[in-house]
């Protein structure tokens, strides 16, 4: 069987060489820019927890940490469901709020950390993704007081021990 000759590849104009990317100097602190904050630390205890129905997600996590004397923590994994969900995106006062009506909003992923507030109490900033009963996906920051647990929330938290603390 004769093989058909492959058509000649059209000649392409030579692409311009990309400009050389120069890494910024180690102390990339141009006037007007703030230095990157670095906190050295180690991981400490883990906590395995369940939050029961109608408890708010954010304050529930804070109360779990407070009960164990944990001031700093990161979320290692979380699975659960919400009655309704309130998520924010954007920054500060201009944050936009999304509300998703349940019940039975699934928490698909959760990440975030717990840091002490001005009074030294644990304060959680939690972000993640959810799906509603139509399998529509939403993401953002879980708004304090707006995310009551529906059936359960399983969560693993790991203590963060900053060297300066």
């Amino acid at each position: 069987m004769a093989l058909a000759k492959a058509p000649k590849k059209p000649k392409r104009a030579e692409a311009p060489k990309p400009a050389l990317v120069v890494a910024p100097p180690p102390n990339d602190e141009r006037p007007g820019t703030l230095a990157t904050l670095i906190e050295r630390g180690t991981y400490g205890r883990m906590l395995l927890a369940r939050v029961r129905p109608n408890v708010d997600l954010v304050t529930g996590v804070e109360r779990i940490c407070a009960a164990h004397g944990i001031r700093h923590a990161v979320v290692r994994s979380c699975v659960g469901s919400l009655v309704d969900a309130a998520l924010g995106y954007g920054e500060g006062d201009s944050m936009t709020l999304i509300t998703v009506e349940g019940p039975g909003i699934e928490v698909l992923t959760l990440g975030g950390e717990v840091r002490p507030d001005e009074d030294g109490k644990p304060m959680a900033t939690l972000r993640g993704t959810i799906s509603d009963s139509d399998a529509s996906i939403y993401g953002g920051e879980f708004v304090r007081g707006g995310n009551p647990i529906c059936i359960t929330l399983e969560i693993a938290l790991q203590e963060w021990l900053p060297e300066s603390d």
Partner: protein, 195 residues
């Protein structure tokens, strides 16, 4: 904040937590054709791991099924899983969280939720049932934090009328206790009252 009336009496404490320690970190790649949930259970259980916090970090599934919750008005429970949604592969794993714990019969159980993108580019997400999500050509990439000293065990929850994971200590807190390998289902955790 809207709350929901469950079929059973609210149980206390409202927050259950058990201290544990990190027993190390694993990166796993579930091989092509192996089911994601069953493959993870098998791989972790074979190493004697009974408790782990799971993060799905990448890879693909050859195909997938997932379920989401729908409101349930029968009075027995407030929500139920809806009919499964099937996605054609290759399915990209965007992310996911889960836990390896212990079932009511002592068997290993993995509870896993994931965010996925199907072949059509549509975003999907929900609870992954076992035996419905075979890994794709590049495998399914997972990080697992091994949890020492505690696990999640399934018990019937009379408040919600559903079997639910509960934290429990895996080993006695005191080293001199000779029942190190016997799992305590009572736990050594801190009990929290609501409000």
């Amino acid at each position: 904040m809207r709350t929901i009336r469950q079929p059973g009496t609210p149980e206390k404490p409202r927050l259950l937590s058990v201290p544990a320690s990190n027993g190390g970190e694993l990166r796993l790649v579930v091989a092509e054709g192996r089911d994601l949930v069953c493959g993870l259970i098998a791989a972790l259980s074979a190493r004697g791991i009974r408790s782990a916090a799971i993060t799905l970090v990448g890879g693909t599934l050859a195909r997938a099924q997932y379920v989401t919750c729908i409101p349930c008005d029968d009075g027995d429970r407030v929500v139920a899983y809806g009919a499964p949604t099937a996605i054609d592969g290759p399915v990209s794993i965007v992310g996911g969280n889960g836990f390896l714990g212990i079932g009511e019969g002592g068997q290993p159980v993995l509870h896993c939720h994931a965010v996925l993108v199907g072949r059509d580019g549509k975003l999907h997400g929900g609870h992954l049932p076992p035996s419905q999500c075979p890994a794709g050509r590049s495998g399914a990439v997972v990080h697992a934090a091994i949890i020492d000293g505690a696990t999640l065990t399934i018990r019937h929850d009379y408040e919600t009328n559903l079997p639910v994971f509960h934290p429990a200590a895996l080993e006695p807190a005191t080293v001199e206790n000779d029942a190190r390998d016997r799992m305590s289902t009572h736990g050594k955790g801190v009990a929290h009252g609501l409000g």
